[in-house]
């Protein structure tokens, strides 16, 4: 049963870090894009 804890910990850490990366990226994008006009964003 020791395996279960290690496997669960691997998935929690991996998807926790992935979630944090996605969240910080979205927040930074929204915060900064509010300060820049659309004509300065080539992707819009």
């Amino acid at each position: 049963m020791k395996d279960v804890g290690f496997i669960a910990l691997t998935y929690v850490i991996t998807f926790g870090v992935v979630g944090a990366l996605v969240a910080t990226t979205l927040v930074a994008g929204r915060r900064l894009s509010d300060h820049v006009a659309d004509e300065d964003k080539p992707w819009t």
Binding site: T10, G29, S33, D34
Partner: protein
């Protein structure tokens, strides 16, 4: 300038496609990897760690290769476009994060299969060295200087650092190693894995790759926005000093 005149966020229809692919594929990795796939005949249940360990390792290699290619694009391109530099920086940030995940998941897997979290084995040692090298790359990017200075010096570091990747990948062949050789293909080219396990592993590779594309696309745009905001802040500060009559 106000929020009413701007679109919030840095997403596009293309990045939304990457996001949907990543969500679906990684959803399967969690469900299939933990609950559906069979245990391995040799490693037992611990093989479930493979479904995140192998794709994160693959994505970190991919990220560092993208960093090198984009750096070459900046350094040798005619226009020395800072867009290349931002892609290089964004890919390295994601690559370092995924390499950290590879080391952590590998360490937990190692504890189950080898009985130890860490061994100064060729694959583990070269991977740790690669991780530290790219932490150094990110530190170089953080040094003071103009965006062009930042881009030039970090591009040179990236083009040198990428040569470590073959060393890491082939370390299990070049030296005696605890680490297993290629998980999917044997040296004679035969696939030696249960179909459902192979499917889940490949879905993991697709999912983490789509996530990488999503993250790099968004983060390089965030960097572009940050450069614009920072440039304006400097312009405002200089204008204020000129108005005050203070020498620049």
């Amino acid at each position: 300038m106000g929020s009413q005149a701007t679109r919030s966020g840095v997403g596009t229809p293309a990045t939304r496609v990457f996001g949907v692919i990543a969500t679906l594929a990684l959803g399967w990795v969690v469900v299939g990897g933990i609950f559906v796939t069979p245990p391995d005949v040799v490693q037992g249940e611990s093989v479930r760690i493979m479904y995140v360990h192998v794709p994160t390792a693959w994505v970190s290699y991919l990220a560092f290769i993208v960093t090198a290619v984009a750096s070459a694009g900046y350094l040798f391109g005619r226009r020395h476009s800072l867009g290349f530099d931002r892609v290089a920086g964004a890919a390295a940030q994601v690559g370092v994060s995924f390499m950290a995940l590879t080391l952590i998941s590998g360490s937990l897997w190692g504890r189950l299969t080898w009985g130890t979290f860490w061994e100064w084995d060729p694959r583990l040692t070269t991977t740790a060295f690669l991780f530290v090298t790219y932490l150094g790359y990110l530190a170089v990017r953080g040094l003071d200087g103009t965006p062009a200075q930042r881009a030039k010096r970090s591009a040179i570091v990236a083009l040198l650092a990428v040569f470590e990747i073959p060393l890491v990948h082939f370390s299990v062949v070049l030296w005696r190693s605890l680490h297993q050789e290629a998980s999917v293909l044997s040296t004679d080219g035969d696939i030696k894995m249960d179909d459902l396990m192979l499917f889940t592993l490949l879905v993991g590779v697709v999912g983490f790759t789509a996530l990488f594309m999503w993250l790099v696309s968004h983060r390089q745009r965030v960097m572009a926005l940050r450069d614009i905001v920072e440039s304006r802040r400097i312009d405002v500060a200089m204008a204020e000093r000129v108005a005050e009559g203070t020498p620049l």
